[in-house]
Each structure stands twice: as C-alpha cells, then as structure tokens.
C-alpha cells in the first residue's frame, strides 16, 4: 500500500483471478496483512500488541454473541440467566469466563500497545491520526467494558452503574437531569439495564469499524519502528506475510496460552466476589472498586477532596476525563523530532517514571481511601498531568538526542554485511552453505 516496492497481488489460480477482477477483496487482504504490505524489518515484540488487540476484540465479539443467546436483560432474570449460563448451558462456564477474562486481556494488550506508542513516539507526524483513532478505540472500549460489567446485575454491576453515571451529575446545572436521562430513571433499573445491553452489543462493532480506520491510517505511512527512522528503501522492509504473520502467530499462541492459564485455573482472579451477589439497591458493598483496568482513573477521581473555585466532585470528574483527553494533544506537547525513546536519554527516564506513576495510581485506586492513599493519589495525579503538560514540552525543547542511525538496515546490521539478506532469499551466513544446492 505504502511503498513503491510493495508486491502487487498476483492471483495464481484462475478462480482467484476471476474473483479478483470482480471484487478485489483478495487484493485488499494481500495489501493490508499479506505479502503486499512492506513492514520495517527491525520491529521488536512490542509491535505484536496491535494484532493481539485485534485477536482479543474478535474473541470478545464471538463469545459475546454466543452469551447473548442465553442472557436476559431483565432486572429479575439477568443475574439468574448468568448463573444458568454458568451451570446449565453446555460449555457456558467456559464461554463466560472467556468473555470476562477476555476483557481483561484486551485491556492488558491495549495498555502495552499504548505505552509502546508513548515510548516510540508513534503519535508523531505522520501518524497523528493513527494515534487519535487509537484513543477513540480506547474510549469506546472503556464504555463497552463498563456497560458489559453492569449486565450480570450483581452488586458490583449495580453500584458501578450508580457511581459511573454519577460522574455526569457533577456537571453544573444540567448534571442531575442528564444522569436521570441517561439512566432512564432515578437509579439504575430496567430501562438502564436494557439500554446498556443494547449498547454493549452495538459498540464492539463500532470499535471494529474504527479499527479499520486505525489500520487504514497506519498503512498510509506504514508501521513505525524501534529506531523511529523512516524507511528508505526495500532493504529496510520485509513483507508482512510470511515474516510478521509468523512472528505475530507464534506470539499470539503464547499470549493465548497465558490467557488460558487464567481462563482455566484462576478465572475469577481479576474479578470481584461481590458481583456474585445479586444487585441490591438498598445496600452498597463495603469496598466498591471498578475493574482493575480502570483503577488509575478511579484514583484520579478520588484525588480531589477540596473545593477550589469548582466543587471537588467536578474537579475529580474533569481530571479523570482530562487525563485521557490530553493524550489527543500529545503530538503538540512533545515537539521533539526524534520519535524513538532509545535516542532520547532524558525522555527515556521520564517515560519510565510515568509508567511507575500510572502503576502507583492503579495501586491507589484499588485501596480504601485512607489519608495516606489520598495523599499518594494526589501526588501521583499531579505528576501525571505534570508529565504531559510541563515535563514533556520542556524535555523536547532542551534535550540533546543521541545520533540516529542512517537507516533501519544500518541499525540492524551493525556492520555485518552477511546478515543483510532476509532469511532464505539469498546465500546464508555460513560460507559452506552459500552455494545454491541444486542437487538437493
């Protein structure tokens, strides 16, 4: 798609040619994820996580469609229908655990994917739209995951719905009417559950649509790479198939193995036991926390305890949404022309500080709000915003980056010429095997 040397699709079978002339779908696939998409040859394993996110989106859609065949979105029947899936439906336990843990794994791989982009500057020109579309996907994922968590109508479902929709009530004047409008009642009830189910079914397909735009936008400049240096010529790239299909393939197998470890041996490790108690609108669980993937944001929400011009509640909600929205402006906050963190000695240190800060926020988000925890959340929240709004712009102004390699190929070879050919296409390293073995 992106480079002049991209291999055109050449149908081998007459039937494939017949099909391609009428509907060039095979050509599209070939150009997008086949031999026709040249990819930098030096990608490391952090570049596997986009494909993994796609795999987990697929797992979520497939298992979700199947679960919807058994689930009732009625306040009287929802909890029991989930128990019915767990106990009576053939392989129902497997499908539900696959869906619940699939959500966690979708977030794990997406977070690694996002931090990969933060480290390697994947949000910089010419990939700004790729990054922003990715953030849109992330926001849609959060909405979908939240609504999905409400569906079993357990205690955490119910009170999660109460708390999250409560965010909207922080908005001055229209907040409370808006919350009532969104819930279709004064508290989460049948109207809320039914609309959440409807939207929970819809949004994954919206995500899939934005994923297509995300990949489309990516394939215009082509994938970034660990050096951040632009692709110069054909030597810098390998065709996606078979090189990266093979690499993505085996790695996907490994990650799915880890997923299965959770699925079969500790399926509830990432969930909350309180959600196995049916929803009770008259009693809030003692310790209410969101799923682990929302904990850093929950900490930011809880960090604001003092009214300052605006009410503390509104500050919390604004900061929480702001923590994601500011990522849309990352391209203009980090003006350094060097993409890869490997060549930015100061940026690299602060990047790892940010990772530690987000993990700390996650820890604080999961704790009961004691004075210490609140103080930690406040410091960590302050640092989070300082990183993006103060530190990053300053670094990009004053940092002296390390010298970049002249090309991807040069950075890969370290001067060893014999390594220059992709495996199997030219003579190999070992001199004794250099001659083509025509004798077989």
């Amino acid at each position: 798609m992106s480079f002049a040397w991209a291999k055109q699709y050449e149908p081998k079978h007459p039937l494939a040619r017949w099909f391609d002339e009428r509907l060039p779908l095979p050509r599209l696939v070939h150009g997008a994820i086949g031999g026709g998409y040249p990819v930098p040859r030096n990608l490391n394993y952090f570049w596997n996580f986009g494909v993994l996110a796609g795999i987990f989106l697929t797992i979520q859609i497939v298992t979700g469609i199947v679960l919807a065949m058994w689930y009732y979105s009625s306040v009287d029947g929802a909890f029991n229908s989930v128990e019915h899936i767990m106990r009576d439906v053939n392989a129902g336990w497997l499908l539900r655990y696959a869906h619940a843990n699939g959500a966690s794994f979708f977030f794990i791989v997406t977070y690694i994917h996002i931090f990969r982009s933060l480290f390697y500057g994947s949000y910089k020109a010419p990939r700004e739209l790729v990054w922003m579309l990715g953030l849109v996907i992330y926001l849609l994922m959060m909405a979908t995951a939240f609504m999905g968590y409400v569906l079993p109508w357990g205690q955490m479902s119910y009170w999660g719905a109460q708390v999250i929709t409560g965010f909207f009530s922080a908005i001055p004047v229209v907040g409370e009417p808006l919350r009532i409008f969104l819930l279709g009642g004064y508290v989460p009830d049948q109207a809320s559950l039914t609309r959440f189910f409807s939207l929970h079914y819809l949004l994954p397909f919206v995500i899939a649509g934005v994923v297509i735009l995300h990949i489309w936008a990516l394939h215009i400049p082509g994938s970034s790479n660990p050096t951040g240096v632009d692709v110069r010529d054909e030597k810098d790239t390998l065709p996606f198939h078979p090189f990266y299909t093979a690499k993505d393939g085996w790695f996907a197998g490994l990650v799915i193995l880890i997923y299965c470890l959770f699925l079969f041996f500790m399926p509830n490790a990432l969930g909350h036991p309180d959600n196995y108690i049916p929803a009770n609108p008259l009693a809030t669980p003692v310790h209410i926390v969101p799923e682990w993937y929302f904990l850093p944001f929950y900490a930011i929400l809880k960090a604001f305890t003092v009214d300052f011009i605006l009410p503390a509640k509104l500050w919390g909600v604004l900061a929480m949404f702001g923590s994601i929205l500011l990522l849309f402006f990352l391209t203009w906050l980090d003006r350094s022309p060097v993409r890869s963190g490997h060549y930015r000695p100061i940026f690299k240190r602060f990047f790892w500080l940010l990772v530690a800060d987000v993990l700390l926020l996650g820890w604080a988000g999961g704790r009961v709000a004691s004075p210490v925890v609140v103080a930690v959340s406040q410091l960590a929240t302050a640092y989070y915003f300082a990183h993006f709004l103060i530190i990053l712009p300053l670094i990009s102004r004053f940092e002296k980056p390390l010298p970049l390699p002249n090309s991807i190929t040069e950075s890969v070879l370290h001067g060893e010429k014999a390594e220059s050919a992709p495996l199997g296409s030219k003579g190999r390293r070992d001199g004794s095997q250099a001659a083509p073995a025509t004798a077989g």
Binding site: D88, V89, N90, G249, A437, G440
Partner: protein, 199 residues
Amino acid sequence: MATEAQSAEGSGNIHVDARTPAGSGTGEVRRRDFLNVAAVSFAGVGAAAAVAPLLVQMAPPADVLALAQTEIDISKIQPGQAVKTVWRKQPVFIRNLLPAEIQAANATPAGELRDPQSLAERTKPGKANWLITLGVCTHLGCVPLGAGEGENKGPFGGYFCPCHGSAYDTAGRIRSGPAPTNLVVPEYEFASDTVVRIG
C-alpha cells in the same frame, strides 16, 4: 543439520535438507515445508478445538434435559377420557380407551394403513386401554384436537388436526390427511398401576 533432521524423520521418504534454498524447484520436501505444514496443522487443530464450545453451547442445556422424564398419575382418568400432559415441553395425550374404541382399532386391518401398526404394538401388554402418544401432529407439528372434552375427534373417532385436516383413529394412527406417520408413542413404562413414567 541434515543428518539430525533425517534421524528425526526416521524414514527416507521425506528428505529434509536445510541447505536447499527457497524455490530451488527440486520438488522435494524441505525442512521449512515440513515446519510450515506442522505449524499450520497444529494451529488448525487448535482453532477447531476452540470452535467446539461455540457449537456445543447451542445444544439443550442441563435444565432442559432435566425435564426429559416425567411421571403422571393416571388413576383419575375414566374410560373414554383423555388428558393432556407435558413431556419435554411437548404435549402428551394419555387416553383411557373404551372397549368399543379398542374393538374399532383392532377391527381395522393394519396392513392397509399408511403407517401399518396394530393397537397392540402401540400399547403395553395387558394395558391395551392406555393409549399414550405425543400430542404433536406428524405433519407439521400442530396439536391435534380430541383429547379435551367435546373437541372434534375427526371422522375416525381419535384425533383431528385443525391445521391441515389430518385425522387419526382411536389407536392414534393416521387415516386421512397429509400427515405421513402415526402419532408418536414416546418411550414410557408403568411405574405402578396408576403411575406412568414417560421418557
């Protein structure tokens, strides 16, 4: 390299030579071909295994299968009466035949019927008056009339399907209309003289 691969194969008919470059066109199986086929087959088996739970979930769940056996007290059914009951959420007709109805059924030569069966074949030995059939027309699944008080029993005095006019006789056998076979006799046994266990 080559010797190691060959000993792993254990036979000479798959010749694996790591030195053969891609596309050498000798038509022999290369190590990479073998690895390719092995890896893709392995992934294929895994994918097929992953599809299995997606398919088996469609089958009846345990709570539905738990309804597969039902016991009915028949002590209150007078001769000439019939009751409708439910087995696997399907209607079942239990009919206490009158002697005249038994005679009428036995008088019909079974060989001339669309689905040849005698009344004795459709009841338990010594219990010829108890006709137990599914209340599901064998044409397209409607519930025939004739079990309830005052319902149209059709021209043969058994059951009559209002959907497309199939008529069954007093042994529940198809006599006229589009239905292909007799009303189905479910698997059942007499748990006692007054209790029937269906399923």
